[in-house]
Point group: C2
């Protein structure tokens, strides 16, 4: 790491401490003003985005190009999202519990920001206002690294941030910093002392490469291999509908269905009904031997298919015998993202909900519901398949941690030790 | 990783899924029986420990030898601790919040175990029953790696675990596995797919070497460089008492005082009074120039001293000008473990409590209070200086994560999208 970069990062760390100590009202005012700026400067934003689009036309895949593109619809959604965050209560300093340890000795667990959030993203420039508004609401600060393809758009958003900083004097200038080179972000990922949490927003490859190359905690998921298991007690019409929606409603989403598990007892009934809708919907099935014995025209599935996030209308289908076998398959091949059972038998539903070890576990609802907005969290940082800190769709809460404050009157520990030790009261306070 | 080890770890992962699905009553019964076994087999435990002590006598440092040693006192404390955990409500499956997303569509956030907890410890064999009881209460499973110096003691504890497993048939056999070679634990730390969280219990060197060599989240702290800042508004007698207790009550503890910060406005008054008590208590001071102008006989402190966890009766003392300078020093040289202000001025106390970014922040109380038992958490896994997941003293709660369960009636997302989209209700349920 160069000295100049280390100095910048030390300034960002200090900005984090200053941001955490700001009054919540300043954060709210800044969010409102930020929304207004994005709204009123949309012509500048769209013009900068036009430059990116012109430079990238024909040079990047269509999916990336679509994600790069800003429009009035996206800007409107961003502005609404930032205003909603401004309306939410400020989480910093919220008491999470108080305990009277002894007379005049009160322990309080308070919510505090994590500190410095690193965000690495590709293509989509709207990540900047989205994440920055979450970071601002939660009292954190951010270092951002966007893709070269969105250079002009990213700079246009950062120009608004500069303007915001000039208008809201209390904001520490370094609360949001955009880095533009790979070398800078590479250096940052090597130093856990400067960044507390990394959030990658982009392809599975991007997420995996970051997970594998840093000791900083990474929030996110590399894969979304989601399952729907159709139990013999299922209402077959519902089962078809849930499975179709889980796949077709947005096939490239991380919460889209990849493997349909059909119980052996209802395969003969369910599979033809499913195929009748799936075919016209554009779904192409890769089935196990038993699936092929019911639907002889479908391709043969390999073990690799069970582990694959197709991200398109390909679907793997496997016939399994009973709930245990379905759960075994999910635990063996799934990614712990979102899995669903379709059953009318409540015992089966409850057993599935309890036993399946995934971030989101559903009974009789499309896997596509796994989403921060649909869960009512407001904006979303992303969906985590981590087993620590935050799991599933992550909103403002996932950017918070806590600290313990102890208010005393000069108490010392030696009075609570040894013979004649004073006893603690440990009474919860409201 | 060898195939045999990979197979074992896959079995442990499966045991984790089984343990999470156990009825809470089974976990409680197992905890009670485990306490009884430790209590009634203490002769076997002490005999095994005697073998370790005899083999290690003269071969390891005294501090390690003391930590290796079991006695009736330690066994009693262990048994009491396990029984207290048995008395606590089972946390698995606790609802952390419910939201009505729409008619017949209910989202529940439930507490679930993290999964497989890796524990690496040195010398102290009592880590096994301590951590295993926390792991059992929280529905997790554990892989343990102890030091060679405690081989016989560790095996004696694991024998009790084997007996427990035979008596409580529902417990998955692999819920607690002891590994004895460095190669095994090295291989395990390389594979985040098998272990969800690593807890090192031992020297700072052990913790740091694990933090630096695995991508699995590590819960703990390498250093405890704790501060007491004496403000001019402090009651000087209280300030002396808090500072002395913070250092002397247990100098090698991680929450013991390492650097005393004294405000320039009260240094001339406070320092001589402190030195009068510190000297007879065995404290040796290393002071900055301004400290030495008041206490000319003390050694000179270097910049390295501000970063050092002495772990003994050495203490660094620095004179600083005002709250901001004190906080700057703490943020620059501290380890984010536990820091304290002594002041009668409430504004100063509140500002310190709010601004200092450490796991535990105190006003007018000894830093030695930073401890799971004293906080009323019951048993403690350790103290974390992490900025994600769990911070400060960590009890059962730190071994839990959550998942989202969604109970529907066949709802699909396409009805909530596009024109004529159904609106979500997002009503909190009790």
């Amino acid at each position: 790491m160069t000295d100049a970069l280390a100095l910048q990062l030390a300034e960002i760390r200090a900005a984090g401490q200053a941001a955490a100590a700001l009054d919540g009202g300043v954060r709210t005012a800044a969010l409102r003003r930020f929304a207004d700026l994005v709204d009123s400067r949309r012509a500048d934003l769209l013009a900068a985005n036009r430059r990116d689009l012109d430079e990238q036309a024909g040079r990047i895949e269509d999916a990336l190009y679509q994600r790069l593109k800003l429009g009035d619809g996206k800007i409107d959604a961003l502005v609404t999202g930032v205003r909603q965050l401004a309306d939410r209560p400020d989480p910093v300093g919220t008491s999470l519990g108080r305990t009277l340890l002894d007379d005049d000795l009160v322990l309080t667990k308070v919510a505090v920001p994590i500190g410095v959030i690193g965000v690495v993203f590709e293509s989509r420039p709207d990540v900047i206002p989205q994440i920055l508004s979450l970071v601002l609401r939660s009292g954190n600060v951010a270092v951002l690294k966007g893709g070269r393809e969105a250079l002009h758009s990213n700079r246009a958003f950062m120009q608004l941030v500069g303007e915001l900083n000039r208008e809201i004097g209390e904001l520490p200038e370094r609360w949001a910093t955009l880095f533009e080179t790979r070398e800078e972000i590479r250096a940052i990922l090597d130093y856990p002392e400067y960044v507390d949490l990394v959030i990658p927003r982009g392809s599975n490859q991007l997420v995996r490469s970051i997970q594998e190359s840093t000791r900083i905690p990474v929030l996110g998921h590399a894969e979304g291999v989601c399952h729907v298991y159709v139990h013999p007690s299922a209402d077959m019409a519902k089962a078809v509908d849930v499975a179709i929606d889980s796949k077709v409603q947005y096939p490239s989403a991380c919460n889209a269905l990849e493997t349909l598990l059909v119980d052996g007892e209802c395969a003969a009934e369910f599979l033809p009904r499913f195929a009748e809708v799936a075919g016209p919907a554009g779904i192409t099935i890769r089935g196990c031997e038993r699936t092929r014995s019911v639907l002889p025209d479908v391709d043969h599935a390999t073990d690799d298919d069970w582990r694959t996030e197709f991200g398109d209308l390909r679907l793997s289908v496997r016939v399994v015998d009973g709930l245990d076998a379905a759960i075994d398959h999910i635990h063996r091949f799934g990614s712990g993202h979102t899995d669903c059972v379709v059953a009318e038998d409540e015992t089966i539903c409850e057993s599935f909900l309890r036993r399946v070890d995934s971030a989101s576990v559903f009974a009789n609802a499309s896997t596509r519901f796994a989403d921060g907005f649909r869960y009512g969290l407001g904006a979303e940082v992303g969906i985590s398949t981590n087993k620590t800190h935050a799991r599933g769709p992550v909103g403002v809460e996932g950017l918070m941690i806590y600290k313990y404050q102890l208010r005393g009157a000069g108490q010392v520990v030696r009075n609570y030790a040894g013979t004649d030790a004073r006893a603690f009261r440990h009474e919860p306070l409201s």
